[in-house]
């Protein structure tokens, strides 16, 4: 029964993973085994540590904002009468449905140094234009903003499903017990949603950490490699600079970081178990 599944996993996950590990141990021309040389080389480069920092800041900040915005919007949608709720749900999901490479092109235009719609608005209220993608800090802000815009609807829909699964009687019991709005949120809603929140954060952390398209289209890692994340830098080294083993070594660094996050989050979920 499980054989087809095992075959698919071996072909699509196991083989590429093992091949990239094998590749990361070869020299640039892929002719000679060099052991951990690619990794030690990376450790010695300042750009590598900058990419580590940027990847962590990018992923953590984006996930935190996506989670917060998703939570607030989910509450907003949950409180809309059922009749109009579907329309709102549909509209709010649009950013997540559009292929990110395409929607990022629209954002690229919004941030464009010459035609930026944001700068046009800023100028309208008397604020000096911002070099969105040319200034390293604003560029970091821009990639995070677009990632949040793209990913928040996913959190919204997951949280909305979680909110709908909280029995109404729990809120009624809390109201009779004397809980105000904030106490209902703190003592009923959040504990009831904890597992969904954890799973969604984990899933989003993995996807955001491995993000490629938004950074690639918006800044291509610039200015001066300041907005590179692991995937875009691995692409730059492996494909654009034709050093596939080094690119493979960079991409492999994502694995231990995500594995540690996954272990912590899944252990927490497992400990709590299904309390319902």
């Amino acid at each position: 029964m499980a054989l087809p599944l095992i075959l698919i996993i071996v072909l699509l996950v196991g083989y590429p993973a093992l091949f990239s590990i094998h590749m990361a141990t070869l020299n640039k021309s892929m002719e000679r085994f060099v052991g951990f040389e690619n990794f030690t080389f990376l450790f010695s480069r300042e750009t590598f540590w900058m990419v580590v920092r940027q990847s962590v800041v990018f992923a953590v900040t984006a996930v935190v904002f996506k989670a917060l915005i998703g939570f607030c919007v989910a509450h907003f949608v949950h409180n809309i009468p059922a009749k109009g709720q579907r329309k709102w749900r549909g509209m709010l999901l649009v950013p997540w449905v559009i292929p990110p490479a395409m929607s990022t092109l629209a954002w690229l235009w919004l941030f464009d140094p010459s035609y930026s719609a944001f700068n046009w608005i800023l100028e309208g209220v008397g604020i000096a234009p911002v070099n969105w993608l040319g200034d390293p800090n604003w560029a970091r802000f821009a990639v995070i903003l677009v990632n949040v815009w793209f990913g928040a609807p996913f959190f919204m829909i997951m949280y909305l499903a979680a909110l709908k699964s909280v029995p109404e009687q729990l809120y009624e019991a809390a109201a009779i017990d004397g809980a105000n709005w904030w106490q209902k949120l703190w003592y009923v809603t959040l504990p009831m949603m904890r597992n969904i929140i954890a799973i969604t954060v984990l899933f989003s952390l993995i996807v955001t950490f491995a993000n490629f398209d938004i950074v690639r289209v918006l800044t291509a890692g610039g200015p001066v490699d300041q907005t590179h994340v692991f995937a875009t830098w691995a692409f730059k080294l492996g494909i654009e600079s034709s050093d596939l083993p080094l690119g493979a070594a960079v991409s492999l660094f994502m694995f231990p970081i995500l594995a540690i996050a996954a272990i912590f989050i899944l252990r927490d979920i497992n400990q709590r178990g299904n309390e319902a």
Partner: protein, 366 residues
């Protein structure tokens, strides 16, 4: 402790009326059960008392205070829900103490009250468990414990036994009665189960279609129903209703149920029923327990008749017999040793001292 008063209470859901202006006085320490079929407005009434539903019209008073616009937390009530509504992520102790913790009651006082309630309900061993580790009956006790620790003015129960199996329901019913006898708090209890209503209540309120049909003690409702609905709703198996007309017979009155069967009306009721002699829209009502096998010594107001039995249902302590009178299926309860057999004729007696005559048009018991 407090009394609860409902004055012309109305609840409409958009254009649909759920409760149509009911009046009810519940005395301090009284155990009142609201009973009726689904959609009769009993749960809505309870939720309006709790403050979980807005009131369309009328007033709810707890004590002497109108609480229409008071949030649930300020009404000093406690509620036990059908699905228990225990917080799944909290232990039994945390569940029971939650309301007190929100009120910032002293920790020692909380512990004292929780332990006391746990002792009353025999759940002291379960205080550190989570709800998922409890059986249905234990969860029900915890839900009651959560209500007891708050020492409220009024207990509200919303079909609390509906999710339990039949055996546990009977057991928990007794528990609830015992708890009420111990804590003596004014209680409003909603159920669709008339047996639960009869066994628990000091007074039963029978509701139908958003109005109160009758309020009374269980015995009053059983013996003196005011309407056909109450007569049919209270008692199991339900009261038999057979179309009839009144006629003069042998100097008195008789209820003619079919060309072959006419039951003499007890003398004491003749004056009351005589104005309906010409009415063509009457129902004769008699409970199954008042139709029994013929015994050697008939009492006054007992009238013998013989019918072919269609179906018999042995129940152990009694046998239910089904037969037809005037095209209507009628049920009787006979001794299991009386030899009742399907397809055979049997001599039965109707205890007419317990008969009811009902105006079919208005549904009123005459």
């Amino acid at each position: 402790m407090a009394r609860v008063t409902l004055r012309k209470l109305v609840k409409n859901y958009e254009e649909t009326p759920a409760v149509r202006g009911i009046d009810l006085d519940i005395a301090d320490k009284e155990f009142v059960v609201l009973v009726g079929p689904s959609g009769c407005g009993k749960s809505t009434t309870l939720r309006m008392i709790a403050g979980l539903e807005d009131i369309t019209g009328g007033e709810v008073l707890i004590g002497d205070e109108v609480v229409n616009d008071m949030p649930p937390k300020d009404r000093d009530i406690a509620m036990v829900f059908q699905n228990y509504a225990l917080y799944p992520h909290m232990t039994v102790y945390e569940n029971m103490s939650f309301g007190l913790r929100l009120k910032k009651v002293d920790k020692a006082e909380i512990a004292k009250r929780v332990e006391n309630a746990a002792r009353i309900l025999d759940i002291s061993e379960l205080l550190q468990r989570k709800p998922k580790q409890l059986s249905g009956g234990q969860r029900q006790r915890v839900a009651m414990g959560r209500a007891i620790v708050r020492d409220p003015k009024v207990f509200l129960f919303d079909e609390p036994l509906s999710n339990l199996d039949a055996k546990l329901r009977v057991q928990m019913r007794t528990e609830i009665k015992k708890v009420h006898q111990k804590v003596r708090t004014t209680t409003v209890y909603v159920t669709h189960d008339q047996v639960e209503a009869m066994t628990l209540a000091d007074r039963v309120v029978v509701m139908n279609g958003g109005v109160i049909e009758q309020v009374g003690t269980p015995n009053d409702l059983y013996h003196f129903p005011a309407t056909r609905f109450v007569a049919g709703f209270i008692g199991s198996p339900a009261m038999n209703f057979i179309p009839c007309r009144l006629e003069v017979a042998g100097g008195g009155l008789a209820a003619r149920l079919s060309p072959e069967i006419a039951f003499p009306v007890p003398h004491a009721r003749e004056a009351r029923y005589r104005p309906y002699l010409d009415s063509g829209n009457l129902l004769f009502g008699l409970r199954p327990e008042h139709i029994v096998e013929q015994r050697p010594h008939a009492e006054s107001d007992q009238h013998a008749f013989e019918v072919p039995l269609e179906v018999t249902e042995p129940m152990g302590m009694e046998t239910l017999v089904y037969f037809e009178i005037g095209g209507v299926e009628v049920c009787g309860r006979v001794n299991p040793n009386a030899g009742a057999q399907s397809g055979h004729r049997m001599k039965l007696v109707a205890d007419l001292a317990n008969m009811h005559l009902i105006d079919a048009a208005s549904g009123k018991v005459l």
